[in-house]
């Protein structure tokens, strides 16, 4: 057991834990985006999903605790390794230029790979604001008729639109390198599969980034102003539809 702990606290072990937690968080992003996309299907559907989720009195706290631990581990290891990496070069170069030549396959992720700490920190900042909005209710709290109305109200605020647009697009850049890099860290490098993983990672990053960014963008375009009023009008109707579903 001590040898396992020693191995996991080595440089490779830490990066391995980061890759595993990172990929698990990618899984969370897929679920989270799927749920959010219900907002485009309809306010009632979104509310039904939110209520069904919150009705899980046992599973939800377990899942949330697991998610919280994943985030903490990923962020803490990110900060620890970033500190070690800084310390590994005490005197910086006067000039430093990349020698990576092929821009089609390596150039762009190469740039994203050098920005993992800044992009990670921006996403963390966004995450805290996002939790303040939707989880803790300490940022712009309000008395909303439904979950959809709450989302619509928050997404219609100018501050939210700016922060969420930056946060989600930067998340996409973070994933651009992070997704494929995780496989290399886990030792998966294969002439046939690595190009596939890289291509999939690119598509994944674009889908997740743009998918989440669509919410503040649509908020800016006034898409959720209707949702807000609609759900308030349909206030009486919503609980019935939920009971029916149950």
């Amino acid at each position: 057991m001590t040898s396992l702990i020693r191995a996991l606290s080595s440089s490779i072990g830490k990066k391995l834990l980061m890759s595993v937690t990172g990929l698990a968080l990618c899984g969370f992003l897929v679920v989270h985006l799927s749920g959010n996309l219900l907002l485009y299907v309809g306010a009632a559907e979104y509310d039904a999903y939110a209520h069904a989720l919150h009705a899980q009195k046992i599973l939800l706290p377990i899942a949330e605790t697991g998610l919280f631990l994943l985030f903490i581990l990923h962020i803490a290891l990110g900060l620890i390794t970033a500190g070690e990496n800084r310390a590994a070069r005490e005197v910086k170069y006067d000039t430093q230029r990349s020698k990576v030549i092929d821009p089609s396959s390596k150039g762009a992720p190469n740039l994203a790979s050098k920005l993992m700490v800044p992009t990670g920190l921006i996403v963390l900042m966004f995450l805290l604001i996002h939790l303040g909005h939707f989880k803790l209710g300490i940022i712009s709290p309000g008395d909303d008729a439904s979950e959809a109305a709450k989302a619509g109200r928050i997404l219609s605020e100018g501050f939210t639109q700016v922060v969420y647009l930056i946060g989600t697009l930067v998340l996409g850049i973070h994933l651009f390198h992070g997704f494929q890099s995780a496989f290399q860290t886990m030792g998966l490098n294969h002439p046939k599969y690595t190009p596939l993983i890289k291509t999939f990672g690119f598509i994944f990053a674009v889908c997740i980034g743009l998918g989440f960014a669509s919410f503040p963008a649509m908020g800016y375009l006034g898409r959720f102003k209707e949702t807000e009023t609609q759900t308030t009008e349909n206030r009486a109707e919503t609980p019935t539809s939920i009971t029916q579903r149950k």
């Binding site: 440089s11 070069r89 490098n189």
Partner: protein, 252 residues
């Protein structure tokens, strides 16, 4: 044959403990057929003639195989050419009137000894921690007594091309030695002779690598691009695999 007029911004540092700084030198009539080190030789000849201290830099074979020469040239390890060491870099890669910034490898694990010379013995200590096979040194074994598949031999040979120059560490934004250690672990893990000590080798070498103060791997691929021996990133993936396997199956 044409000649160049160059401005050199060279890092000068009298010793490990003293602070260094850039000095600017002007050099004329540099032949495009000179190697980069020959150009520095000319600079040193000039400095000696002017009764100044010559610039200290590492070199040995000047054939691109010993791994002694280093230098960060205009921010690129071993200069702008690919799969080339500084000694095999020729001045035809530069233009008349160019300013060339010349720095030593910079890493906490590679302290500057003087000017452009750094102490790379950290890499030797990583090798000493496990980068070998313990064999009975009797008479020479029969040829083909140990069969090695051609594909494995090729991969091992590619990994063994590492000359230990430290360009991977120098080019990495984290000063990580993962490509070096990946190559050294791979060349033995791939061959039957390396199998008995496979697990202890990777655990000990990585532990030593961490102790020496190298950074972590972010998979930016700068090391692969800077490597004069063309060591591939797949060696880092193999190192990760070897390490994971060894760590999970270790008895103690």
């Amino acid at each position: 044959m044409s000649s160049l007029k160059l401005t050199l911004k060279v890092w000068r540092q009298p010793s490990r403990d003293e602070a260094g700084q850039f000095h600017t030198y002007h050099l004329e009539d540099v032949s495009t057929e000179m190697s980069f080190l020959e150009m520095l030789d000319v600079l040193n000849e000039n400095l000696i003639a002017q009764d100044e201290e010559p610039v200290a830099f590492d070199h040995d074979c000047r054939e691109g195989i010993c791994g002694m020469c280093s230098l960060m040239i205009n921010g690129q390890a071993h200069g702008p050419d690919n799969e080339t060491t500084t000694c095999q870099l020729h001045m035809r890669h530069f233009r008349d009137g160019d300013t060339i910034v010349i720095e030593p490898w910079r890493a906490k694990a590679f302290p500057v000894i003087r000017d452009l010379v750094v102490d790379r013995s950290a890499l030797d200590r990583v090798i000493a921690a496990g980068g070998y096979v313990s064999v009975n040194c009797g008479s020479a074994p029969d040829a083909n007594a140990v069969l090695v598949p051609k594909t494995d031999a090729d991969k091992a040979m590619d990994a063994a091309a590492c000359i230990g120059c430290g360009a991977c560490v120098a080019a990495c934004k984290n000063a990580s030695a993962m490509l070096f250690v990946g190559a050294k672990v791979s060349q033995m893990a791939l061959l039957p002779q390396g199998k008995p000590e496979r697990a202890s080798r990777v655990l000990n070498m990585v532990a030593r690598m961490d102790e020496e103060g190298f950074g972590n791997c972010t998979n930016t691929a700068e090391c692969e691009a800077a490597c004069p021996a063309g060591i591939s990133l797949s060696n880092i993936a193999r190192l990760n695999r070897e390490y994971l396997k060894a760590a999970l199956t270790a008895a103690n």
